[in-house]
């Protein structure tokens, strides 16, 4: 669901095809009939933006028919845990969870906690956003958790306030009929899918979910994924072979850039970024963010080792290991916030390394205007992308919104070396690190990003040398001494990997994160990557063919953590350590040797007995009992109900997209109340359903990719052999919509929103049929988003017409569902374009509902 794997991960999809040929059922749930649907065994067409309803329907089906995997649910999830009395569900509060602060427009999760204690999420968000006030109010660290065992539980799952019952009540209204009404599929479809999942789960069988940005790019993106996690936990499909919730990631090594983040709010290894308002010193920061039980109990060792990797000898206990050198965050500093700051003239300079927001980001027009408001911009790219050329050829010149000689942005366009011209590691969707070697030397002035960052840092440090200004210390004290090779002084990528892996006091490469110390005797650039350079060998470069090793293939590349191919794999055995079934045996307890063993590296202390009970005062992993597989969680359990970690509720609930032609029959708030909105002239929204003018935008539009192009097109619209395969921007519409709006197949259509209007060739196809939603016909407009003004093939950018409205947890844009109007013919040129758009209604306020 929410993934078009055949088109966007074709090479990975070969395994899906192989599974299909071996009898696996492949079900594709998508608004369009895609190349994935065509090769799946079942396709269910749904409306864009209603997945929680669909998944909720499955959850309800499971619970109503008692299809959950009882033994798994009772022992491995927090189903039996009894929640705080103050907690109130959306069912009781007309669509809000308890703790909603209408004034602040956010949740306080205090009332979501386990009865009698206060559990913390595994990582991130614990000290910020919604939780700040709460965390602070607990004075230091709130009620310490003596044991990983939540005090109040009901193994019979009968207690009205136990998670299981709460879940039941929360989803009971998600009947097949309601799902059909909301999603536009049929009740039979929902039942067929739910039944297929149940039938293919349990002791003997497992089912997997595959998702990608069809789920995430929504104002409820994270809750979409949560809903799938709930299903998989109920069916016992986590930590077992053939199970799981697979996120098919995007750019090459985008997973790597999350682990070793290019994100503003976490440090390597999902360590939360220090918060300006909450963290004055290392101790306090660690206390707030670690949990006394579970592997996060060792967070101090991860953080100190990271600080040592950054500042080496300069980092010592006396100066808190340079903790104060770390930047502090004050709130949302995500890409969109950055663009708005540029627009508001608050941000003056910007580095754009391998990104093309002028095409790729929601409301691309706003991004171009924002870039044009900078003083300087550094772009490193393979080609001159729209985000680098805007100052002389932005579409806004034609409309008079930008005037060339009034743009003061100085653009530095630096040629980047491509993948084949440099070496390094890729981390793929499965947390697998694979090393790639350099094929050819970079051409001309092209240099790797590593080269650029290293030498940039080196030169800045040179310029600052001798400075007494304390603000320069963090830079000057950095350990910035990578060996360089070759005529181009290319820094050694392996040296970087080794630093990430970390070393001990003797400088020997570490082999596992369990060796990390908080006393400064170890360094480690990213604790979960510790072991990737074990035994002074680049483990990610291993290439032993599958045929020459076990089917788990542990000697191909290296997977974090600890080369584990399936995490939480202790869940593949029952509480007593015996595999749930022979068919699905993976990791098990070997009484004879008194150790965990199996095909994979057990994700559990090797010698911790299944019947282990934590002694008084045990900390970290030692505080996790022998029958609790989810060792990163404070309670060792999979969370059906999330007491913390999410800012928009402990459970998923169906909210309409920010822009939707429909009301919400379930709850008072039409859309996710916690979503991020940025109303302003450059980012107007559509009047929401009910309000005057809402019906000016009767259709739902959704965006996606094509196999033939890559994202914002810098790499494909410039490549003749790709450009020719999809040479023009087009929109996909149904014959019925074509008839309704006189759209001519092969002709042109103009798609209009309050942001602007774009034109596209018309592809009339039955693959995007109209749906019956809430008793009326819904037409959806499909838009690939690959086109822009440069390259061999050019066209309007779908992103020009999308608003900036974000998921509150991860700030991802909602580009998978919004509303629009569509008309036959090409769009007006010049000023006439704005005139057309201005004739359409708009709203400048945030939408309360």
């Amino acid at each position: 669901m929410g993934s078009n794997m055949a088109e966007n991960h074709p090479v990975g999809y070969q395994w899906v095809m192989e599974a299909r040929e071996r009898g696996a059922q492949v079900i594709h749930v998508d608004p369009r009939f895609t190349r994935t649907s065509a090769t799946a065994t079942k396709w269910v067409q749904v409306r864009a933006g209603a997945d929680i309803a669909f998944l909720g329907g499955i959850i309800n089906y499971i619970l109503e028919h008692g299809r959950e995997f009882r033994d798994y649910v009772v022992n491995y999830t927090n189903a039996p845990v009894i929640i705080n009395e103050e907690f109130q569900d959306t069912e009781e509060l007309a669509g809000f969870f308890s703790g909603w602060d209408a004034a602040e427009g956010r949740y306080d999760n205090g009332s979501w906690q386990y009865e009698g204690m206060d559990v913390l999420g595994s990582a991130g968000k614990r000290s910020r956003g919604a939780n700040v006030g709460h965390a602070a109010s607990q004075g230091g660290h709130g009620n310490e958790l003596e044991l990983s065992e939540p005090p109040a539980q009901d193994p019979t799952l009968e207690h009205p306030r136990c998670v299981f019952q709460i879940l039941k009540r929360h989803f009971q209204r998600y009947t097949p009929e309601l799902v059909a009404e909301l999603c536009g599929c049929t009740a039979a479809d929902l039942i067929a899918v739910a039944e297929a999942l149940c039938a293919n789960s349990g002791r003997e069988r497992t089912s997997a979910f595959v998702y990608s940005v069809g789920w995430t790019q929504h104002t409820v993106g994270v809750q979409n994924v949560r809903a799938a996690a709930i299903i998989q936990l109920l069916l016992g499909n986590v930590g077992r072979p053939g199970g799981g919730v697979m996120a098919l990631r995007g750019h090459a090594s985008i997973q790597g850039s999350t682990d070793i983040p290019t994100l503003y709010d976490i440090l390597p290894g999902y360590i939360p970024m220090p918060d300006a308002y909450a963290h004055d010193n290392l101790k306090e920061y660690v206390e707030r963010n670690s949990s006394p039980s579970g592997w996060w109990g060792n967070m101090n060792t991860y953080v100190v080792s990271l600080l040592k990797a950054y500042w080496g000898s300069a980092a010592n206990p006396a100066n808190d290991f340079c903790f104060d050198y770390l930047p502090r965050i004050t709130g949302d500093h995500s890409e969109y916030q950055a663009a708005l700051s540029m627009l508001d003239g608050e941000m003056h300079g910007y580095f754009l390394l391998g990104e093309n927001p002028g095409v790729g980001s929601a409301n691309a027009r706003l991004h171009r205007l924002a870039l044009a408001n900078l003083q300087w911009l550094v772009v490193r790219d393979l080609v001159e992308i729209e985000s680098a050329s805007f100052w002389y050829d932005a579409p806004e010149f034609e409309t008079g919104e930008l005037i060339a000689d009034q743009i003061r942005t100085e653009v530095f366009l630096l040629p980047a070396a491509s993948i084949v011209e440099k070496e390094g590691s890729f981390t793929n969707t499965q947390r697998l690190l694979q090393w790639h070697h350099k094929a050819v030397e970079p051409q001309g002035d092209c240099r790797s990003d590593l080269w650029f960052i290293y030498h940039l840092g080196r030169i800045i440090r040179q310029k600052l040398a001798g400075s007494q200004d304390p603000k320069d210390r963090p830079l000057l004290d950095l350990q910035w001494d990578y060996p360089t090779e070759g005529a181009l002084d290319e820094p050694s990528a392996e040296a970087v990997l080794r630093e990430i892996n970390g070393w001990d006091a003797e400088g020997k490469a570490l082999t596992a994160y369990t060796q990390l110390k908080a006393d400064g005797s170890t360094t480690c650039g990213c604790w979960i990557y510790c072991g990737s350079f074990a035994d002074e060998e680049n483990q990610t470069a291993r290439r032993k063919p599958g045929s020459e090793q076990s089917w788990v293939a542990p000697e191909w590349g290296w997977a974090w953590p600890a080369n584990r191919r399936i995490i939480y794999n202790r869940a593949s055995a029952d509480p007593s350590g015996v595999p749930w079934s022979e068919r699905k045996r993976y990791v098990w307890w070997d009484e004879a040797s008194g150790r965990w063993t199996g095909y994979d590296n057990p994700d559990f202390e090797a010698d911790k007995r299944p019947d282990y009970v934590p002694p008084e005062g045990a900390r970290a992993q030692a505080a996790i009992a022998g029958n609790h597989p989810f060792i990163l969680q404070a309670d060792g359990r999979g969370w059906l109900f999330a007491p913390s970690g999410l800012v928009d509720g402990p459970l998923p609930a169906h909210y309409e997209p920010h822009e939707s032609p429909f009301r919400n029959p379930l709850y008072a708030p039409r859309a996710n109340p916690a979503r991020q909105q940025f109303p302003r002239p450059a980012n107007p929204y559509h009047p929401s359903n009910g309000d005057v003018g809402a019906d000016a935008y009767p259709y739902v539009m959704t965006t996606y990719r094509l196999t033939e192009h890559h994202t914002a097109g810098g790499m494909s619209r410039t490549a003749p052999l790709l450009a020719e395969l999809q040479p023009e921007m087009f929109c996909e519409v149904s014959p019925e919509l074509a008839a309704e709006r006189n759209l001519e197949h092969g002709g042109w259509a103009t798609i209009i929103t309050a942001r602007t209007a774009i034109e596209a060739r018309v592809l009339v196809t039955d693959r995007i049929k109209p749906l019956a939603v809430q008793g009326r016909t819904l037409h959806q407009v499909g838009l690939p988003y690959h086109w822009g003004s440069k390259g061999l093939v050019t066209g309007d950018s779908a992103n020009d017409i999308f608003p900036i409205a974000l998921d509150p947890n991860v700030h991802i844009q909602e580009v998978k569902a919004a509303t629009c109007d569509i008309r036959p013919g090409r769009r007006p040129r010049g000023k006439a374009l704005r005139e057309l758009v201005d004739r359409y209604p708009r709203s400048q306020e945030a939408d309360g509902t």
């Binding site: 014959p735 019925e736 074509a738 008839a739 759209l743 001519e744 197949h745 092969g746 002709g747 018309v762 592809l763 009339v764 196809t765 039955d766 693959r767």
Partner: protein
Amino acid sequence: MSREPSPAFQPQSQSARRTAQTAPASGESAPGFRSYYGQPIIKEPIWKPEVPVYFFCGGLAGASASLALAARLAGNARLARHATFAGMAGIGVSPILLILDLGKPARFYHMLRVVKLTSPMSVGTWILSGTGAALTLAAGCEALGILPSVKLAAQAVAGLLGLPLSTYTAALLADTAVPIWHDARRELPFVFAGSAAASAGAVAMLTTSPEEAGPARRMAVAGAVLELAAVRAMERRLGELVGEPYRQGVAGRFSRVARACTAAGATVVAVAGRKRAGAIVGGVLLLGGSFLERWAVFKAGQQSARDPKYTVIPQRARAQRDGTSVTTLPAIT
């Protein structure tokens, strides 16, 4: 197995055709057969106009050479002389036309490195070269009035090779996948033979005084009759569907005019060929008819290749009739 009748082409959405024009115009296509968006199945011949012109000139040259030989044997020296020169003219421009089509002269010689019986173009190249050489020799001697025996020998060679020279071009066309050419493989050579005879006769008639042009006149008329009869037989063989291009579009127009000219020309020559004026009018009509007939055939080939129905419907019918389909169908279960 079931073959439900479906639209002439597969629009990328069958129901969409009701609402928007979904796929390219299928104007030429017939209902009850299926194709890929109405796209051609075989490739259109890519020859330039030089080629049909060459067909005409080659035919004229070949028939003239044979006429010359016959006239020589019959002792009609003046007719032989004129026919030889006419043949010389025709054979002279032929290689030029072919080289123009190929682009570079060198490319013509590529063909003289092999002899392939399966390639009428290869065989034809040799016939053309042979006739050319012989005719040049004959014409040379004729012009300079020297070496009578050599001249006679050359004349003989040219006269004999001239016969296939005027018909191999039909084989060349028939030996392609173009339905309207391939299916006419039995008649097309006769069309070309007749048309060649008519044109050669006409030229000889125009260049020779009526008294001595008798055989040329008879040859022209007989050629025209042969051409028209062969055309009728060809169209009967091709039938309604495959022969359609001869009644449609450019090819249709060319063939109508061509046949009118030929018929008229023949009549005029037969009736008034002995008078100079009659000879001129009839001769020109016959030349035009012969020339346009080659164009009609050429154009018809392009039209026949362009529309998939000419390929699909007969093949589908044949496959059904005698189960010769290349497809292996699963047993009906």
